[in-house]
């Protein structure tokens, strides 16, 4: 029995750096929601809803004087991005419907990002294993927040919220620029096992992921001031519909001279 972090499931290892930032945001939620909802409901909410965007969305409505129905609607709208995420991971899943339902319930933003592989495939076990650290961080952070762990102040002051953007970017870059950032090298050695054959080879340029990423970013920026929270990200997912067009040349062909 040699104890080694390398023997841990990949999704678990990859999501470990997120425990602290997740806990910090959970702490913010506990601090803000505790006085309004009560300690126990706030903790239960984090435990059963387990979604920062939905919970902050609902909380924003309640604190600004909105009713329960509006708060619920806003919270759910903020989570509509899970619909395209669910349909995206579905083809990579196997097993009976009940098993797929339970695995699907473990889906979260970070797990989706961690589990995504080239060509639209998803590592379902990585998605599932990415869940426990985030769940523990989220609920634990909330408990700390409602218990009045105010000593460190509002944690988002300390730049913790930018951690998620950088983490997501670290998992997006290899897809946009496969020849620039090699998957096997990001996150130190944590992906060494995943860097199998072919990853190091130069691949022909596939511009579509870059176009889609830029388009999605633009949609999010344009819609943010005019649409309710959550809607911009959902609509941004529609940038993927570019894929309906048949590629002019197969992306596996020698297309390196493109642009």
């Amino acid at each position: 029995m040699k104890w080694s972090i390398k023997a841990w499931p990949e999704g678990l290892r990859t999501s470990l750096p997120l425990v602290l930032p997740t806990a910090a945001i959970g702490l913010s939620f506990g601090l803000l929601a505790g006085p309004l909802l009560g300690a126990i409901p706030t903790i239960v909410m984090s435990a059963v809803v387990w979604s920062g965007t939905a919970q902050f969305g609902a909380l924003t409505i309640l604190t600004s004087g909105g009713g329960t129905a509006l708060a619920a609607g806003t919270g759910l709208l903020a989570n509509t991005r899970f619909l395209p995420m669910g349909f995206a991971i579905a083809p990579s899943m196997s097993g009976r419907p009940l098993r797929r339902l339970l695995t699907g319930a473990l889906l979260a933003d970070a797990s989706f990002v961690i589990g995504h592989r080239d060509g639209g495939r998803f590592d379902i076990s990585a998605i599932a294993w990415a869940a426990p650290p985030q769940y523990v961080g989220w609920v634990g952070g909330t408990i700390a927040g409602v218990s009045g762990a105010t000593a460190i102040g509002e944690p988002t002051r300390w730049g913790i919220d930018v951690l998620f953007s950088v983490f997501y970017l670290s998992l997006l870059l290899p897809e946009l620029f496969p020849e620039r950032v090699r998957r096997g090298e990001r996150q130190g050695s944590s992906h060494a096992g995943a860097a199998s054959s072919g990853r190091r080879a130069w691949r022909p340029r596939n511009l579509r992921p870059i176009i889609v990423a830029v388009l999605a970013a633009a949609i999010t920026l344009i819609l943010t001031p005019i649409a309710p929270p959550g809607v911009p990200v959902l609509v941004a997912a529609s940038a993927a519909l570019i894929g309906l067009r048949t590629p002019k040349r197969p992306v596996t062909a020698d297309a390196d001279d493109d642009v």
Binding site: G86, L101, G120, G159, V166, I210, A216
Partner: protein, 101 residues
Amino acid sequence: MRTWLLIIVLAIGTVLMKTIGPVLAGGRQPPAALTRVIALVAPALISALIVAGTFTQGQHLVIDARAAGLLAGAILLWFRVPAVLAMLVAAIVCALLRLAV
């Protein structure tokens, strides 16, 4: 009572949205065009999450310390610095800027 109702609706609704795809479309190989779309859902959503998490505050577009942190992180990632280190530097840049302003 209303609080508990809100919690129940949010919990069930969130699980429903996460699981409809896996339950209805799980394990089936979609047509080629749809496969190409699915391959692009991840870059679209990840990019949108980054923009929403960095350049928005509620319904306002903002450029603040987070943008500087992300830029620092992006440069490090571009030069193949491990993600954990890039995250650390980004948070430090962001926190220092917030202290200074």
